[in-house]
Symmetry: C2
């Protein structure tokens, strides 16, 4: 697998913010509407929505609006990519160590 730097940029940037990561973590336990997510957080509903939009733009979350409710759910591909990247770095390191 070959991952584009821009893809990793998107994933790491999306998860680098504590609140955004908290939203993502919450959604890993199951889908939730925006307001419900916001209740757990120390920021405005507006800020939460902005975070959700960022997460969605970078492909970590998908959301669907039914009536006045927008339900957000996690997209798992990003986690797979991230894990793959980490494991590749660990492999590189171990290989370099053996060569030493």
């Amino acid at each position: 697998m070959l991952i584009k730097p821009s893809t990793l940029d998107a994933i790491f940037k999306a998860l680098a913010d504590r609140n955004r990561r908290a939203i993502f973590e919450a959604l890993c336990h199951g889908p939730a509407p925006v307001t419900e997510i916001a209740e757990l957080m120390p920021i405005t509903l507006s800020a939460v929505l902005q975070h959700v939009q960022v997460l969605e733009a970078k492909g970590l979350v998908h959301s669907d609006k039914v009536g006045r409710l927008r339900t957000c759910r996690v997209e798992t591909e990003a986690l797979g990519i991230l894990r793959y990247w980490v494991e590749a770095r660990q492999r590189d390191f171990r290989r370099a160590e053996r060569r030493r």
Copy 2:
């Protein structure tokens, strides 16, 4: 294992920058002095040093100065933490899916 949000903040922020990530990736293949790293990169030596300092401050890299050469090497703990976090999210997600 329980990871502090500030630890994850540090790791994700450190790796969210493309150039900084490139430095980290390069160092996973083995230690290198600052100038050698800089040769592979589209930015100034000064900028590279600043990135190295960030990586070091956040615990992803350690460096040692001998004479006029500062040799940088990867600290692998961050990768372990990152991998653990990803796997925990994947577990959360699968558990939530089963419950569905």
